[in-house]
């Protein structure tokens, strides 16, 4: 719970700092320090150190898994601040507010990762999404940004409605919000309960942008300021997935036979739509939006083949996917040209950055020796054990092959094509490069020895 308190505090802090009109540098520094603290505090909590022990067991209770997930999130968040903190200044004037909103979102993460009551799940998700509406629209003059935020808001609110209805029905069926009790010992679900279950499934599927509830994703990711897209596409999505898993694992685990097949179906649909649609994209930003849908499809496999393997895999997936995507976005943010051609000849101009991007792309494509491969591997392994697993898995890997197609288009642009004359590449600071290098190393290390991360789940 350390993170909850710290994040809330730091969020407020950042707001007040904006009043005291500090320079961007200091604001950024404070924010980065704060995020670092969040990360450390989570690690500390894993060692059993608590700033203050919240007694709210019937509302939320943090467990080992949540902590590991949270440390991954906050760690990635820290790297994200290091890489993209500077770029937020280009979005709009309210520099420190952006940070504070992100800190509040982290509070939401904590709830989503630790809820034991549907109420907390609801609150968590809302705490995450409402600031996101703002961040999406934060580029006020930019019509695309406005449009994105409005779409996001309308559809988001709509899905919130669905979730609430679901919760209400469940409550009607069982008279409680506690995840432990929503499914009776009998395990024979009433229609009311099932209806609620499915409504929640839909709304969560919406949050993680799984087909056919994914339609908002490309537009919103495309329209939002790139720095925030990076945040939404990675940490938010991952956290939402963690909540998704947590709910269907703890609350509806005993009804697996009922929803599993649908999880599988949604996963397959998501994979197909995400990957196939990405093939045709020309803008890297939109391509990444679709690829994030595709990756969501793979994470859905984790839900489909829910089990220990899937849980481990989800952590690994969270780490690998977030790291790679954050890195790519951080570079993309600074590019002048978002189209794939914009990357032509980057390897000649800046081999170091190109190399790191290559590692990230390979990881996203799931090539061995990168974390991305093992993450996918876990998911496939989990899915294969489920009913109709083989069909789903075959489709999944074929779609992975398709994903190779579009990820490698970027790779080819960087390495094998010559830059058009007059093409400008931004200059990257050494500090920036250091952080990127760190990310690349993390990806490779996790790809070769994932145990380093996963063993935290157990001791």
């Amino acid at each position: 719970m350390n993170l909850l308190l710290l994040a809330a505090f730091w969020g407020v802090l950042m707001m007040f700092i904006s009043l005291s009109g500090r320079s961007h540098a200091t604001i950024r520094l404070i924010a980065q320090v704060g995020m670092g603290l969040l990360f450390l505090s989570t690690l500390a909590e894993m060692q059993g150190f608590l700033i203050y022990d919240l007694k709210a067991a019937e509302m939320f209770a943090m467990d080992r898994y949540g902590l590991v997930m949270l440390s991954v999130l906050s760690g990635c968040g820290f790297l994200y601040f290091l890489l993209s903190g500077r770029d937020m200044a280009n979005v709009g004037s309210d520099y420190s507010e952006y940070f504070s909103l992100i800190f509040f979102i982290f509070c939401g993460f904590v709830l989503v990762l630790s809820f034991t009551s549907l109420l907390m799940l609801f609150l968590g998700i809302e705490i995450v999404t409402i600031p996101l509406y703002i961040l999406t629209g934060s580029d006020k003059r930019n019509l695309k940004s406005n449009e994105a935020s409005l779409k996001y808001f309308l559809l988001g609110a709509f899905s919130t409605g669905l979730m609430l209805m679901g919760i209400a029905l469940i409550y009607g069926a069982r008279g409680t919000f506690s995840t432990m009790e929503v499914v009776g010992a009998s395990g024979i679900p009433t229609r009311l309960l099932l209806g609620g279950l499915f409504l929640m499934f839909f709304s969560l599927a919406f949050k993680v942008s799984a087909a056919p509830f994914h339609f908002w994703t490309p537009d919103v990711y495309d329209g939002a300021p790139t720095v925030f897209t990076s945040f939404m596409a990675t940490l938010v999505k991952v956290a939402a997935f963690a909540g998704f898993l947590r709910l269907f694992d703890h609350a509806f685990g005993s009804l697996k036979t009922t929803w599993q097949i649908w999880a599988g179906a949604v996963a397959v649909l998501t994979l197909i739509i995400g990957n196939i649609t990405a093939v045709y994209q020309q803008s890297v930003k939109r391509l990444l939006a679709y690829s994030s849908i595709a990756q969501a499809g793979f994470m859905m496999l984790g839900l489909y083949g829910l089990g220990d393997g899937a849980r481990e895999g989800m952590v690994l997936y969270a780490a690998s996917y977030s790291l790679a995507t954050i890195a790519i976005f951080s570079v993309l943010t600074r590019m002048n040209d978002y189209t794939i051609e914009g990357f032509n000849g980057l390897a000649k101009k800046d081999p170091w950055i190109a190399g790191i991007l290559a590692v990230c792309l390979l990881s996203l494509a799931g090539i061995p020796l990168t974390a991305g491969f093992l993450a996918k591997f876990y998911m496939l392994q989990a899915a294969l054990s489920a009913k109709y697993g083989l069909v789903v898995v075959v489709i999944a890997v074929l779609m992975a092959a398709v994903s190779v197609y579009y990820y490698f288009r970027v790779l080819q642009a960087m390495y094998f094509r010559a830059a058009e004359e007059g093409a400008q590449f931004p200059a990257f600071s050494t500090g920036f490069k250091r952080v990127l290098t760190l990310i690349a190393i993390l990806i490779l290390v996790l790809g070769i020895q994932p145990g380093l991360l996963l063993h935290y789940l157990y001791f």
Binding site: I130, N146, F153, G161
Partner: protein
């Protein structure tokens, strides 16, 4: 009065809201329809909490209160959403002088 009446009523409200979202073009009205959906949920929650309260009154006097508690949270969150949402719509209006969502099609494909 049997619980089903409440159930059907609120489901009807919910559906009306949903249909509104699908059919209307004015962002404000769509937003109101969403609010309608939320309130349908509120109604349902209250009804259920009452039902559960009466059902197990013997065991525990405070049972079922949590449902009504939830309603307050929903209201709060809804209020927050309203503030943000309206802000966004206003911003929108300031830029394109319209709140018709059909004009929101710069982002597609």
């Amino acid at each position: 009065m049997p619980i089903n009446y409440y159930l059907f009523l609120s489901l009807a409200l919910f559906t009306i809201g949903m249909v509104g979202v699908l059919t209307r073009r004015n962002a404000i009205i769509i937003f109101m329809c969403i609010e309608l959906m939320l309130n349908a949920v509120n109604l349902l929650l209250v009804a259920f909490s009452k039902m559960h309260h009466l059902k197990n009154l013997a065991l525990n006097a405070s049972v079922g209160t949590d449902g009504q508690l939830f309603v307050f949270f929903i209201m709060v969150v809804a209020a927050a959403e309203v503030s943000v949402g309206l802000a966004i719509i206003v911003m929108m209006y300031r830029n394109i002088h319209s709140v018709d969502i059909q004009f929101l099609n710069r982002l597609k494909h």
